[in-house]
Amino acid sequence: MSDKLEAYLEEISHFLSGRAEREEILSEIRSHILEKAAEGTGASGTAGAPGDAAVDEAIAAFGPARKVAGRYVDDRPIIAPAYKRYLFRYTSMLFAVHAALTVLAVVFKKDFVIFPFLFMPKLGIIDALMYLPMAFLADLGIVAVVLYFITQSGKDVKLPWPKFAVDLDEVKPPKKSFWLSRVATAVGAVIMLAVTDFALYVFARHQTIFFANADWDNLRPLFMPAPGRRISLIVIAMFAASTMALFVKLFTRSRWVDVASNAVTIGLVGLLLRQPVDDLFVAEIAGRFSPRIVTWGKYSVLITLLFIALMTTIELVKGIVVISRRKLSQVK
């Protein structure tokens, strides 16, 4: 018997793995192909083996193994179309809880447990930034598994649809005209370029861009030289990244630009958060205020940076969700 026929049946068998009637299906396909091939070589009605070329032809006419096996598989999708939008809504809600707990774990330096679903260990800032994308993927997986089981049960389960803020479905592209939006982006890009250039100029002259006064002829640095230099460079890098993103957006409206820009911003904020806050302010500034106010100042900066990181992360996740939804809706 043709090796090619056996290989073909073996391939179909692979895709039908786990189905009790697999052997029966394969026998019937074998019978059909041999019969057709025999007819092609004029051996119809006899037990004689058909030629290899005729078998090849019959196999080609029957179709690719995966497609053939696919016809036997139940039509039920992994997640029913009606539940697809729940996947992202529920993931967003679960991730919001995760993100909030992460912020609390970082700020209060404590473990958090919502029995039995979530355990949030005490996290450092960098740990938290690394942890959030993993948390998002885990949340997506949990929701997908639940929706998978609901779909496979075949029951008509009515799931709640909590409405909060702006529905992602309702996020529509800006209604501004093509040229108006391009002009706005160009103006933004030019302003950001000017800001970045000015910051670079100031940095070249003073080794910092943060000052305690606004007297141009007698500027006094706000931070100590070493941390001031590092923080200034990171902030200038953030300006430069925003400028580049705006210039790229002049040529493409792809959401990937925002995703990339947000990812860079999160990385830079992470670098800022890694900077030690002790002995941050120059002695003159620190001495002017009580230690309590200086401490509050440090924590205010930290909380502001955390807030920026959180907002940027939300924007990043939102961008990825919107892109994923579009990709999914394009899949037939």
Binding site: S31, F62, R71
Partner: protein, 115 residues
Amino acid sequence: MTNNEPDIGSLETEMNRGFLHILVLALLEKDMYGYSMVKHIETLGYKVEENTLYPLLRRLEKNGWIASKWNLTEDRPRKFYAITAAGRALRANLLDVWKTQNRVLEKINKETSHV
């Protein structure tokens, strides 16, 4: 092809899905095996995708509308199918649906031909 033109291929596949049920149930008044059905349908001036027919036969059998039996006495093993009583009842119902649809379309055709 412009974007406004319908994809007749996928639409035809959808239409064939229902038609194939009636066709197979009508054919199996006489015992037949898969390949003989494919050949017979071809002689009637219609073509059925071979890899579509067998899964359909399996589904009809699962629902009790047709029954099958392997014949090992001839030169080659062949799986013969025959319609059951439940299959005949289903065929009658499907034919009624098909006739109603045909009647509606013909009426609309007549109406629009006068416009």
